[in-house]
């Protein structure tokens, strides 16, 4: 990985940066346009089509794969290792038909603008910039917009890229909208479970002795809450959703509890999963007509790069050079899959954001130029490296 002095002395670096910085209005406009295309997880086709058109316009060719990911490549110098830049296609919301983004002089406000759309627009802008103002000595750069990056998608887009991805690139940069200065080098281990409980049901007065599916689900949740969770590695249990009940006076015959276990440490995560399985297994013991089933709805390993990894150190250098204060952290994103498969990847944020994943999600425009500068520098550093596994 190149140092900043090495990267910035490559012919074309400053010309490209100047072009990128002058392109901010266009990036913002494209982010607004993309944000206004509804793209809930599993229904990303329309936004994928728009991104494909933008990437095609920028690089001449782009394609949508079987999973729905949009991919395009900027061919680089022969013999140089490849790099992949990722941005998520899907939005956190599921039920907005016509999202609308408000444009104010200082900020953009609306669902999905800061979470995904700005990352997609920056992905396209980086491709356009490096095509129009090439930096000498870069390897192939793949620009990929992935589907299924939100909870219900379970990273199916990035998973589809394996085992192809390691054959073209050993370094991955994930772009995310929120978190200027954010440098996520660790994948938060995540287990998404769904506990379904069936009970005989009945009338609450007449059949009051019978098991209650809702009460059993709450018992399970209470057991999980009671388990010790260390602060380091940070570990938590989050009951996310509970569905149950038919009427005021009935005993619920079914309850579905969806929950998440998270930990920075793989061992802690595995311990919690075993505890959840044990609690689910013993929940209905001795209760006639009751059954509990725990199923896994998503899983990401707790793994990552150590802070002295060249990719992490190089990204920190680029962030400092751009005027940011790097904040090392962990997250659960497309990078999780890459890290799990041994492909070094980092996730960086592009702008200052408030109200993330609400209808008033806002992105502050004055933070965007420095986010762009950082992304551009990191990309040149990584794509300009001489060997696949640099030190």
């Amino acid at each position: 990985m190149l140092s900043i002095p090495e990267a910035s002395s490559r012919p074309g670096f400053w010309m490209g940066l100047t072009l990128l910085e002058s392109d901010v209005p266009r990036i913002v406009a494209q982010a607004v346009q993309l944000a206004e295309i509804p793209s809930p997880t599993g229904l990303e086709e329309a936004r994928a089509q728009s991104v494909r058109e933008l990437l095609e316009e920028a690089l001449g060719m782009a394609r949508i794969d079987q999973a729905g990911n949009v991919a395009s490549v900027l061919a680089g110098a022969k013999g140089r290792p490849g790099t992949v830049v990722l941005a998520p296609l899907d939005s956190w919301y599921e039920s907005i038909d016509h999202p609308h983004i408000q444009v104010r002089p200082d900020r953009l406000t609306g669902p999905g603008i800061a979470g995904q759309s700005i990352a997609l627009a920056v992905l396209v802008a980086l491709a356009r910039t490096l095509r129009e103002r090439p930096v000498q000595g870069l390897g192939d750069i793949w620009f990929v917009a992935t589907v299924g990056s939100e909870m219900s998608g379970d990273l199916r887009g990035i998973c589809h890229l394996f085992p192809w991805l390691p054959t073209v690139a050993e370094r991955v940069i994930c772009l995310q909208g929120p978190g200027l200065g954010r440098l996520d080098h660790w994948s938060v281990g995540t287990y998404r479970g769904e506990l379904a409980i069936w009970a005989p049901g009945g009338h609450c007065w007449r059949d009051s002795g019978r098991p209650n599916a809702l009460r059993l689900a709450m018992e399970f949740s209470a057991q999980m809450e009671a388990i010790h969770k260390p602060g380091f590695p940070r570990t938590l249990y989050n009951p996310a959703q509970l569905e149950s009940g038919d009427a005021w006076n009935t005993l619920p015959s079914k309850a579905v509890l969806r929950f998440e276990l998270r930990s920075d440490g793989e061992e802690e995560l595995q311990r919690l999963i075993r505890e959840a399985q044990r609690a689910a297994g013993s929940l209905c013991k001795g209760l006639s007509g009751c059954r509990a089933e725990l199923s896994q709805k998503g899983f990401r390993h707790a793994t990552g790069l150590y802070p002295d990894h060249p990719l992490v150190m190089g990204t920190r250098e680029a962030q400092s050079w751009a005027g940011l204060v790097p904040r090392l952290g962990a997250s659960s994103s497309d990078a999780s899959v890459c890290l799990h498969y041994g492909v070094a990847s980092v996730t960086i944020g592009l702008a200052s954001v408030v109200g993330l994943e609400t209808h008033m999600e806002s992105l502050y425009l004055d933070s965007l130029p420095v986010g762009l500068r950082q992304a551009y520098a990191v990309l040149v550093q990584v794509a300009g490296r001489n060997t696949p596994h640099d030190t």
């Binding site: 209005p25 266009r26 913002v28 406009a29 494209q30 607004v32 346009q33 206004e36 316009e57 016509h98 609308h100 983004i101 408000q102 444009v103 104010r104 002089p105």
Partner: protein
């Protein structure tokens, strides 16, 4: 040209590549946004129309924001985005009514140096870029076309369907095939439209259609189907009084075109101050156009 031939030749659907085909045109294409208290939507439109245009290069030689008496930051937002902002004239001070769409267009037509002007209301939430690009493309492709209308609904919306189209069908059958004579989205050839009479009140659009047809013939008109319009608050064509002003403007234009004749004053056109009589602006006191059969 028969109405059927006109419908076949001069009615268009949006073309996806129209936006990129506008680039490189030697004809000067201007954009005019009619804005009243549109601070919420104006910045967005200017951003997307300047920087979000497909292909990256917007075709506008100038961008005009005709302010219709805003009390918010509409003018400032327009200037921040590099648009020429036309403030409402002195008429405002003498009239209780704010400046209306027709007045804004008249000011824009006086100021513009463009050959083609695309007129949009800034209070729209979303713009159908392919549709409006097709409207401009239609004028570029056929020099005979002077006015292109954007039709957003199959029946043109309530004011067109229930007001202007029945009147046009009865009194100007050639124009019965115009889907949406009251559309606020227009692309016009400035040299041809500048000299036409223009109702300064809101609801000038259908009268402009009649006047353009009278001056240049039916083949000077075209229409493009647009995506449904979404308004920030409500469709201005549904505002109280709008239907009345639209109908009076339309009847005035039909009178000019010789389609109706009456000795009575239709008296809707808000006169400019220099045209006021000694008693000030004329007031609407009644409307009698047809010899109503009271039996």
């Amino acid at each position: 040209m028969t109405p059927e031939a006109w419908l076949f030749r001069n009615s268009f659907l949006p073309s996806r590549d129209a936006a990129s085909r506008l680039r490189g045109s030697e004809v000067r294409i201007g954009l005019c946004l009619l804005a009243r208290n549109a601070a919420v939507t104006l910045g967005r439109h200017l951003l997307l129309l300047r920087h979000g245009w497909p292909g990256g290069t917007a075709p506008w030689s100038e961008i005009i924001v005709a302010d219709l008496g805003s009390t918010d930051t509409t003018s400032e937002i327009g200037r921040e985005h590099g648009a020429t902002v036309l403030e409402p004239g002195d008429r405002l001070a003498a009239s209780l009514d704010p400046a209306a769409d027709g007045d804004g267009l008249a000011r824009a037509l006086r100021e513009t140096e463009s050959d083609i002007l695309l007129v949009l209301p800034a209070s729209l939430i979303r713009l159908d870029v392919a549709g409006i690009a097709t409207m401009v493309r239609v004028l570029l492709d056929d020099p005979n076309i002077k006015l292109c209308l954007g039709a957003s609904e199959i029946d043109g919306g309530p004011l067109s369907a229930l007001g202007t189209r029945p009147v046009l069908s009865a009194l100007h059958p050639d124009l019965a095939l115009v889907i949406d004579p009251t559309t606020p989205i227009l692309a016009l050839r400035t040299s041809a439209i500048r000299d036409l009479p223009l109702a300064l009140a809101g609801g000038y659009e259908s009268a402009l259609v009649v006047d353009c047809c009278a001056a240049n013939g039916l083949d000077s008109l075209a229409q493009v189907r647009l995506a449904p319009l979404e308004w920030e608050i409500q469709d201005p064509r549904l505002e109280p009084g709008r239907a009345f002003r639209t109908m009076v403007a339309l009847l005035e234009s039909l009178k000019r075109a010789g389609r109706i004749s009456t000795s009575r004053e239709l008296c809707h056109l808000l006169p400019r101050p220099m045209d006021w009589g000694e008693s000030g602006p004329r007031l609407v006191t009644g409307l009698e156009v047809f010899p109503w059969n009271r039996n």
